[in-house]
Symmetry: C2
Subunit: 252 residues, 2 copies
């Protein structure tokens, strides 16, 4: 049997997230259906991590095993023909049988996109902020996220994850053009709802409702109620998954 | 009466172009309907130029006259509430009564977006090129477009425009990331179907079907049949309209 890695882009708007659900309306379900039809065998797809309902991915990484693929290019073409147009498989790559998209990932990078004007072209993946917002204040807040912290205050209350420690290696608001910016955050791991809680808290700070220096206090509280409301999922994109050199032979 | 400039972004996928049509299914029709409802007076909207069916705009500029607007911010909010979500008015700005979005424009900039992998997130505005394509060859071809030329070979046969001379001040393929690139072209004026014919011709050159040095010969032919087929409208975005300093007080 041969293991394959997939690079998957998706518009999460109409899906109930990555992870398989009884409704079958998830990215994982759609991929497993397309692969089963294409390869005529039951295929289990494992992703690098779950994305929530409505969250997108530019380069989600997943893997599966199969012994019937003769040509990865024609397989990729067939899978894309079977998938809805909101999911695109960008690469199918043979990898070593020990490669694991989730356990081998050393860092994940998310981007949260906002616009200071109404949006038409990117309306599915950009949050319009109607208020006056200071990106300088939001960047001052973001600096406090760097390094190792307990992120309980930025994790959904119902999450059962015991270990709440995350190491954040990048947290920065980047200006794309006069109207649009994104928050780029990279960490070894993310808790449930973490990026949306971080962005929701910074948007409050950007609007002037709260000082940027509140972030350390919020982190120390260890209580979800200390942070701001979760930002709308539509602005969030899983942008990149990092693997140790050589384990995933992709130029992404 | 006061004149106002509009900055309009639209996803052209479901519209029959900018220019008003008997079907009423155009951007201009939608804007005039929303303004009439909002301002309770008939409003004629003039755009900087027409975009074809399926073509998008990031910053189309238009103007209209009205004597009933008390507050441009609340007017903008009301118009956006009335428009379909594929059209967004990003700015409403009072301008001098001699300002004319079409006659005052000195240059227009278009971008044509392509991807070398299947696309999900930007599927409405990015052309997937399934073939191996050389962007170096396409950039070598693009260099021949610079300067003043007769663009009859890149103009729709049925166009009635007599003057076919255009001055191109930028024509360049830009790499965004390993999968995506865009062709940025700026000129004092564009003929009907011109950018799509230029891109269609360059895609043939990029695939190796034709040498980059054919462009001068194609320009000299003065015959639409000398150039390649028109590229799909979905990749094309009107990106920027340039006005003389000070005539349109916008930071775009």
């Amino acid at each position: 049997v041969q293991r394959y890695a997939l690079v998957v882009e998706y518009d999460g708007t109409d899906f109930e997230g990555w992870q398989s659900q009884p409704s079958n309306n998830t990215i994982q379900d759609a991929l497993e259906r397309a692969l089963a039809t294409c390869l005529r065998q039951t295929i289990a797809v494992t992703g690098s991590g779950r994305t929530d309902s409505g969250v997108h991915a530019a380069n989600q990484i997943a893997h599966f095993d199969s012994d019937v693929i003769a040509n990865v290019h024609s397989t990729m073409k067939n899978i894309n023909g079977l998938l809805p147009d909101s999911i695109a498989v960008k690469r199918v790559v043979p990898v070593g049988n020990s490669f694991h998209s989730r356990f081998d990932a050393v860092e994940r990078t998310y981007r949260y996109f906002v616009s200071t004007t109404p949006v038409a072209l990117d309306r599915n993946r950009r949050l319009w902020i109607p208020r006056e917002t200071s990106f300088d204040r939001m960047n001052a807040a973001a600096k406090h996220f760097y390094g190792e912290h307990n992120y309980s205050s930025f994790c959904r209350t119902k999450s059962e994850t015991k270990n709440r420690t995350c190491f954040v290696s990048r947290a920065e608001w980047v200006t794309e053009d006069p109207y649009t910016s994104y928050f780029e955050v990279r960490a070894n791991r993310f808790l449930h709802g973490m990026v949306r809680a971080m962005v929701g808290t910074m948007l409050r700070i950007g609007s002037g409702a709260q000082p940027a220096d509140d972030i350390p206090t919020i982190l120390q509280a260890g209580d979800r109620r200390a942070a701001g409301p979760a930002a709308n999922p539509k602005g969030l994109v899983l942008y990149h998954v990092t693997y140790p050199d050589g384990s995933l032979p992709l130029n992404l």
